[in-house]
Symmetry: C2
Subunit: 291 residues, 2 copies
Amino acid sequence: MSKIIDGKAVAEKVLAECGQQIERLKNQGVIPGLAVVLVGEDPASKVYVGSKVRKCAELGLHSRKIELPVDATQEDVLTVVKELNADDQIHGILVQSPPPPQIDEDAIVRAIDPAKDVDGFHPENVAKLALEDSSGFVPCTPAGCMRLLKEAGVETSGAEAVVLGRSMIVGKPMALLLMSKEGNATVTVAHSRTKELADVCRRADIIVAAIGRPGFVTADMVKEGAAVIDVGINRVDDDSAKRGYRIVGDVDYDAVAPKCSAITPVPGGVGPMTIAMLISNTVKAAEAANA
Amino acid sequence: MSKIIDGKAVAEKVLAECGQQIERLKNQGVIPGLAVVLVGEDPASKVYVGSKVRKCAELGLHSRKIELPVDATQEDVLTVVKELNADDQIHGILVQSPPPPQIDEDAIVRAIDPAKDVDGFHPENVAKLALEDSSGFVPCTPAGCMRLLKEAGVETSGAEAVVLGRSMIVGKPMALLLMSKEGNATVTVAHSRTKELADVCRRADIIVAAIGRPGFVTADMVKEGAAVIDVGINRVDDDSAKRGYRIVGDVDYDAVAPKCSAITPVPGGVGPMTIAMLISNTVKAAEAANA
């Protein structure tokens, strides 16, 4: 019964669209460029940065990786950001999160030129999202979730949607997208303080889970026929796995999937979309800079 | 059974608090100043501007009314805003809405110094609201609604709240306040495209109605014991009234009130709070400018 949403396939589709835009830009002499700033040696951050740079190379984008030592100062990072703001070859800038504790991440985000803020975290882009001004950049993960719903044929207009989590990375922007004139869903934002969470979830036609708790959404919380988007990426110990752990989502997939009209697996669901939307935002930035 | 929330009394309380802050500022040689820009001759706008200026005078605030003709250009309005931005005597600026059609209201709002944007409509303040940065200005009407709930002893944490309407003046900021770490409510935003609206409303412990339709919320849509905040200000014809109309809210008050644990009347509920929060924001702006 259940329809598994293939995030890899949708991401490929998004990237193919980007490829056409990149081709057009190249014909105008423009190569979209993404700069990724990595402060410190966090192993997971290194993996993320590596895959972003690799994806740029695959697609013929210009990319630049700037690595700063773990003891870099706020001023060091701001200097790099300012240089990248002024660099015509760079259309998108992201500073990999989380930076070391001496760095004030909010201040760094505010220093990025909003027109190059392809993560969509600058206050100017946050405001544009709330104001439904499509000239801004939407954060990659919720943008990817919206695209997955669309590609899976899930109608958001008039649907009851429940967003689990209220972060500015996923929960709140997701809610704003779903309740916008384009989404037209009736949106409930639920979180750690929500009472009767199972009841709240059970009324949803669409559930977006972004609370970072492995297997939190169980079968009894999901209405028959609901669409479920699982944003969670949680490590759980698994001795049978080569690395000693495996990655699971916020949804108890095996139990929930049979009840759903559509569901994203983890991995292979939302994950591949995030990087595809980052590329898409970078191409959008390059187009806007050369319009 | 029902507890009528006296918006006038709560507004007086807010203004009394402002009075103490104003006294402290005066002792430092600062008089908080509000500038109100009125473009054109709209009668309702004239009434609103008049009452804002009068309230400032009552409280010993400095106020300035700038009237521009109905055929003022965008450049005329921007010039006034720029002068007010640079004026040390002015801590708060608002341009009365709606301006005549030749004026791009969004561009005017963006031109106001965010530190003087006491209406809370500048994108920088919109973003601060979403990001839960309390240094920004919250739009006056939703800020007033939150204060009314607090004064009425309505617990928002863990409550199911339904906001009817998704405008950036009331609905969305109200939802953001209710779902913030301070509000902690489980918030649903319902609107014109919501199906089964009555069912959605019936699950609410708190209803905030801001859809601009007289008497839209009927008794069957309200759970026994719910708190109801009525933001609506609608004119309906009434031959028995001196002016030929009367003002009613979005809630069918007479039928709904007996079911509620708390409810705001119209007039005398949210209305008086809006101007009180405007004064409060102006005093906050003056304090921040002199910190």
